[in-house]
């Protein structure tokens, strides 16, 4: 305890001394802000507003790791931090490298800025503090566990431990083989698929309505799904990205995935007997589609369903260059099809058998209906 008090007074002294030495708080803030926002600097990952990125980079703004933990922040900046971490109750998976490009003074400016930006109310950090820590701290990248061991959360703040045990899905960063799960997905009936494809394209396919619901690529595959499987089954899967393609249905109008994940409803928004906007229309067929199963074709799922007397298969793969998703359909017996897609700002859609109209409709001739492919790629800027 005396040692901690002693260190604390040293910090106080140097903290005040920078004022005394003539550098105003505003000046420190401005210098720190410029360094933070420099090209390829902190901003690239933690973002200008300090909010980080869902699922990968933790926020700095109002972070429970920063509050009352400036020594900890210095240690992270100097030595780096790797391993899944829980910040403000959410999970993040990216690693932070040691900040080797900044000298002690610059790091002090940056940390001072972070400590006081976006509503943070921590103290100014001095060059001396950073220098001492650089001397003192062991030469190893921290894990959340080792960091909290050295710099524990203040018990008075009553925070949850910032570590957690990652599950299998948490540790997959690069999808090499397709992964097919059946689980509860937001924005789909309870008979849903969550599929991860090579190239890290992920989609939700709904067996309750025989249709692709949405595709996303950023933010990783669904998280914490094992809890759903192994527990009583209540949790609905979550993912961090925003879909670059989401199929239209008039039954859902503007609800967020969080809202669609709600499980404690008295009644549903709708049930599948009321489903509409099935994407494939064949003249004279009024039937609802009926799900029949799926087959693995080189590990990729080929869904099959019937529409009246017609059998449809839908094989969903990644493009050869991994840039997007390719949906290959077959209709048997052949017939002219009107296929309705949902154009979005975030994706480009094309077909190998005709051009999609601006309203999303695509007319497939009978002779082409035995095999046609639709390509959905995220647009670069949105990716």
């Amino acid at each position: 305890m005396p040692l901690i008090l002693c260190l604390f007074s040293v910090f106080l002294f140097f903290g005040f001394s920078s004022f005394l030495l003539g550098e105003s708080k505003e000046n420190i803030h401005l210098k720190g802000k410029a360094l933070y926002n420099g090209a390829g600097s902190c901003v690239a990952c933690h973002m200008p507003d300090g909010q980080g990125q869902p699922g990968s980079v933790p926020p700095l703004a109002n972070s429970d790791w920063i509050k009352g933990g400036t020594d900890r922040s210095i240690a992270i900046a100097l030595r780096g931090l790797a391993g899944p971490i829980r910040v403000n109750g959410k999970h993040y998976y990216s690693a932070m490298p040691p900040q080797l490009l900044f000298d002690n003074q610059k790091l002090a400016y940056i940390l001072s800025y972070v400590n006081q930006a976006w509503g943070n109310q921590e103290r100014v950090v001095t060059e001396r503090e950073v220098a001492e820590a650089r001397e003192r701290l062991p030469q190893a990248v921290y894990t959340p566990q080792s960091l909290l061991k050295k710099f524990p959360f203040d018990k008075k703040l009553n925070r949850k431990n910032g570590t957690f045990t990652p599950t299998y899905d948490d540790l997959i960063t690069e999808i090499i083989q397709p992964i097919i799960y059946r689980t509860f997905m937001p924005g789909a009936s309870p008979a849903a698929f969550a599929v991860a494809l090579p190239g890290n394209h992920y989609f939700c396919w709904d067996a309750g309505e025989c249709r692709l619901r949405y595709i996303w690529t950023k933010g990783g595959f669904i998280r914490n799904n094992q809890v759903h499987w192994a527990s009583n089954g209540k949790p609905v899967a979550q993912f961090n990205g925003t879909p670059y393609y989401r199929a239209r249905t008039t039954k859902l109008l503007g609800q967020t995935f969080d809202q669609l994940s709600k499980t404690n409803n008295k009644q549903p928004i709708y049930d599948t007997s009321q489903a509409d906007n099935f994407p494939i229309t064949i003249k004279g067929i009024e039937d609802k589609p009926s799900y029949l199963g799926y087959r693995l074709i080189n590990q990729y799922p080929q869904f099959r369903y019937s529409l009246g007397k017609y059998l449809i298969t839908e094989l969903i793969r990644t493009n050869k260059d991994l840039s997007g998703v390719q949906r290959t359909f077959s209709l048997s017996p052949p017939a002219p099809i009107k296929f309705t897609l949902t154009p979005t700002e975030e994706s480009s859609i094309s077909c190998d058998q005709g051009k999609m109209n601006p309203d999303g409709t695509l007319l497939i001739k009978a002779e082409d209906s035995a095999r046609f492919s639709i390509f959905i790629n995220p647009k670069k800027e949105s990716n």
Partner: protein
């Protein structure tokens, strides 16, 4: 699997002796190499080639070669596969949440590559408790599977499958999506029909050796204590919610007068008293001719999740209906908790898969083997005109068997009511009138001073040893006496305590 409530063990008698006979041994089977670190067993069976099949909550299905002691991954991507049947070495039938599914390896590489819907013609509200339990196949090629109701522990999802039915929504356990709480039949010609109604958490179908279909249910609303039902077409077994789907039933089931529902319901052939016999019974498995498991062929085994226990059930037909007794059989450590699925191995030993899904239970796989020595157990309990005939696997000590005080019978019933569970009602000791032991000392005929229909009769046999001095492994047996051999009075319904002259004992 039932809704969690504080366990009120109403019975802590010191005289009950329940344990596994020394004739049975238990071996742990190494866990399958799942990457999900979860080895709860949701489904378990054997392939024709003798390999063990295990379904995990992660949706994986593993095969185990018992000779080489190796695991192989057969399939993945199923949604809580809570039951499995093997049609061939490369073809399984699985109940998973959304479907009855045929899982096949078509290209012969040892891995499943086709997942065909046999039927998904039933609903899902998306409530977590809507499990899809245990496919079974009858001699005529019809499948049966059991649909759990939704729980008041949560509501319904934002999108549900099948026509949403508001009439099935109220109540503790609900049935707002088609046929929740029904046993379903998928006929050999492809029709999917609700076969029986009134089930709450029917975690485990099974046939006896005569082809009768049985299912268990877990204590809760409308289920005073856990039960075993003889499943017959069109019948209603007591849990109200699924009546929303029964043709001709008008109105909201849970709001119907309890008397009306009580008149509709079919009685359980066995009630498992809560706290003393089973709290969450699971799969029903007949002791088949190929089982190498002692002198009990034709009887049924029923798993129990809450305690490390497998119960044995013996039934008889009385006045046209099945009824009978249950007794703890494989009981206590080293058997694990959570005994959920069972199957006979090629060598006739019993394989048990354990699960919990956050309820009381366990995880893992165990093998229970019989060493060929006849255990000292109750072999059978049958109704007589004045009491019961209890048969033992070995001759009993005649003097001890003839002592009336060694046979402290009790009788009681569980109420039929909307509320969760039921106390033991009208619990009363029943005096023994007369005891007769057969000349070979294996049968003990017990006449009671009174034999009351529609009451559970239980006894904790005391001090009894075999002629050769062996201790009785399990001395607690419960007979669900619905019907008498003659002159059975009408079902008193037992919906209200006030109807009976009773002084309910506070335990």
């Amino acid at each position: 699997m039932r809704h969690i409530i504080p366990l009120l063990i109403s019975f802590l008698g010191t005289t009950v002796h329940a344990s596994t006979s020394p004739s049975y041994s238990i071996t742990d089977i190494p866990a399958p190499p799942t990457k999900f670190k979860n080895i709860q067993v949701d489904g378990l069976t054997f392939l024709p080639n003798g390999k063990l099949v295990v379904c995990l909550p992660s949706g994986e299905i593993f095969f185990r070669d018992l000779q080489s002691e190796t695991w192989e991954l057969f399939a993945q991507g199923l949604h809580n596969p809570l039951g499995v049947l093997a049609l061939s070495n490369s073809e399984l039938i699985v109940t998973q949440r959304p479907e009855l599914t045929r899982v096949r390896d078509l290209d012969g590489d040892g891995k499943a590559d086709d997942f065909e819907v046999l039927t998904d013609q039933f609903g899902m509200s998306g409530n977590y408790h809507e499990f899809n339990f245990t496919p079974v196949l009858d001699q005529k090629g019809n499948y049966f599977f059991a649909l759990g109701t939704g729980s008041s522990g949560d509501g319904v999802r934002t999108i549900t499958r099948g026509v949403f039915n508001e009439r099935g929504r109220p109540g503790r356990m609900h049935s707002s999506a088609p046929y929740r709480g029904c046993i379903m039949k998928f006929t050999s010609d492809g029709k999917t029909i609700p076969y029986s109604y009134g089930h709450r958490t029917p975690n485990g179908l099974g046939f006896d050796l005569k082809g009768n279909l049985f299912v268990t249910d877990n204590q809760g609303d409308w289920v005073g204590s856990s039960k075993l039902f003889h499943v017959q077409k069109g019948r209603f077994y007591g849990h109200a919610a699924s009546l929303a789907w029964k043709e001709g039933f008008v109105g909201t089931p849970v709001d119907a007068p309890t008397e009306k529902l009580a008149k509709m319901r079919s009685r359980a052939c066995v009630v498992f008293p809560h706290g003393t016999m089973a709290n969450s019974p699971t799969e029903v498995l007949a002791i088949s001719e190929k089982a190498n498991f002692g002198p009990f062929a034709g009887q049924l085994l029923v798993g129990e999740m809450n305690q490390p226990r497998i119960v044995r059930v013996m039934l008889e037909e009385v006045d046209g209906e099945l009824q009978g007794a249950c007794v703890p059989f494989i009981d206590g450590s080293p058997l694990g908790r959570g005994c959920n699925r069972m199957a006979w191995a090629p060598d006739g030993s019993l394989f048990v898969g354990q699960t919990k899904h956050t309820w009381a239970g366990g995880q893992g796989i165990q093998q229970v083997s019989w060493n060929g020595k006849t255990p000292f157990e109750i072999q059978n309990m049958e109704l007589t005109s004045k009491g019961f005939k209890i048969t033992f696997t070995q001759p009993v000590d005649q003097a001890l068997a003839k002592k009336k005080e060694n046979w402290p019978f009790n009788r009681y019933f569980f109420e039929y009511r909307r509320a969760y569970g039921s106390p033991r009602s009208d619990e009363t000791p029943v005096e023994v009138e007369k005891i007769t032991v057969s000349p070979d000392a294996t049968e003990v005929d017990i006449e009671l001073t009174e034999l009351l229909a529609w009451h559970i009769h239980e006894v904790k046999i005391e001090n009894l040893i075999s002629k050769s001095g062996e201790e009785l492994s399990n001395n607690y047996i419960v007979y669900t006496l619905n019907r008498l051999l003659a002159n059975t009075p009408p079902d008193p319904l037992q919906v209200k305590l006030a109807q009976f002259n009773t002084s309910e004992k506070k335990k």
